[in-house]
């Protein structure tokens, strides 16, 4: 039986994949908050959360329930519609960028080949058709996240929120530029924008784009740092520098609407780590079963994010802008030229 030229199992697999990936991201987000508190706690010689459940393992659930029952405050001065819209605009792109990331190899169920990537399907020969502009889609979704923050900062009608929102948007677009230029080095090696093709091209440890040549190596590192800045992680978490801006763009938010900004931040972290894994660390390629490789690499990168947070102090705003515009932007341009010459010389 077929609907619109595709077998019924395709739709079943699609819904299953969507739900699995969504639940995976949601659980990772919940436990990333726990892991972050625990890891940073131990790095600072504290124990971290340890009261709710064994070793504090139920802490994220307790936090979630608490936030559900909190009072919902919409400031009387706020522009109400934009104020309500902003958390959704921040949260949704964070989740849907996951759609194009291949999290595993093609598997076979009842004679049908199913690629473990949400926005993809395979024919019976095992050829995968995915979004041929996958990387552009991810960049587009990453940019959409800015709108949520600008809307939140503007509509709250509070000075702290406005300043936090402006800072955040200027920071995000500055680093988006360097991140966008850094991945040009990936396209030059992969000759494709499809994430399935990019992962398929990275078999073996020295197939990883990070280790292809010195230029892609540096591009990978710059991309990861710029991504941290784009999702407002430490040391680039100026939008919510609490010593000067209270809580930045989400100062006026409470209850579940605040939780959505919080979740968006962590979901963005998952997505950024997944994108870095896919583009530079060989995606699901590796010695373990494909999905486990992918998860191990993503979790490792998330650990690195937390480690960075425990290690580095926050940048000052002018230092941050200087790093983005005067260091990363010109160096990515040099990397592109260097990579082009390298590939032409060592074909």
């Amino acid at each position: 039986m077929e609907i619109m030229g595709l077998p019924l199992i395709y739709y079943g697999a699609m819904i299953l994949k969507v739900l699995l990936a969504f639940v995976f991201v949601l659980l990772t987000v919940a436990y990333a908050t726990y892991a972050e508190r625990k890891i940073i706690g131990h790095m600072q010689v504290r124990v971290g959360p340890n009261r709710v459940g064994p070793m504090g393992l139920l802490q994220p659930i307790a936090d979630g329930i608490k936030l559900f029952f909190k009072e919902e405050i919409i400031p009387s001065e706020a522009s109400k519609f934009a104020f309500l819209l902003a958390p959704l605009v921040a949260l949704i792109p964070a989740f849907i960028s996951f759609a194009v990331i291949p999290f595993g190899d093609v598997i076979e169920i009842a004679g049908y080949k199913i690629p473990l990537q949400i926005a993809a399907f395979a024919d019976n020969a095992g050829t995968v058709f995915d979004l041929n502009i996958g990387v552009l889609y991810i960049l587009a979704m990453a940019s959409l996240g800015v709108y949520g923050i600008v809307l939140a900062g503007w509509s709250s009608n509070s000075k702290y929120s406005l300043l936090g929102g402006l800072r955040s948007s200027a920071q995000m677009i500055s680093y988006e530029l360097a991140a966008g230029l850094a991945i040009v080095c990936v396209f030059m090696v992969s000759q494709s924008l499809s994430l399935h093709a990019i992962v398929a091209d990275q078999a073996g440890l020295f197939g990883w784009y990070l280790f292809r040549n010195p230029f892609t190596f540096l591009a990978g590192i710059i991309f990861f740092i710029c991504s941290l800045a784009e999702i407002n992680r430490t040391p680039f978490d100026l939008p919510e520098a609490e010593t000067e801006l209270v809580s930045g763009f989400c100062t006026e938010y409470s209850s579940m609407k605040y939780a959505m900004f919080f979740m968006a931040e962590y979901a963005n972290m998952v997505t950024v780590c997944a994108v870095t894994t896919t583009l530079f660390l060989g995606g699901w390629q590796g010695p373990l079963p494909s999905v486990l490789n992918f998860i191990a690499k993503v979790y490792f990168l998330m650990f690195v994010c937390m480690w960075i947070r425990a290690t580095y102090p926050r940048y000052r705003y002018d230092q941050l802008m200087k790093l983005g515009w005067k260091v990363f932007l010109p160096s990515t341009l040099f990397l592109i030229v260097g990579n082009a010459i390298w590939i032409t010389l060592f074909k």
Binding site: I74, E77, S161, A170, E176, V184, S192, K326
Partner: protein, 118 residues
Amino acid sequence: MLGAYLPIIVLLVVAACFGLGSVVVSSLVGQKKLSPVKLQPYECGCEPVGSAQERFSIKFYLIAMLFILFDIECVFLYPWAVLFKRLGVFGLIEMGVFVVILFVGYIYVWKKGALEWE
């Protein structure tokens, strides 16, 4: 291509339902003891003065303009990068010229002081 785009829409719907649902449920079950003072914008305990939706530093606008300029040039590099190996030495020189011109513009912006943050 429907096969590749449909799942994105499904995921969008799932994410939107999750977001909307949690906001609606929390606003239903959450407590409500509102007062005029609580609904004021937060200003560390001071009486708020004026509106926050006012004019702000032109620097942010300048950054946005520069972003658009460089982002467009960045987008020009994508199709070239994807076809790089097929274009060969011709592509290398063409792109070299493009990046040099881009770099001249970048030096100009730098020398004009648009990247300084005071």
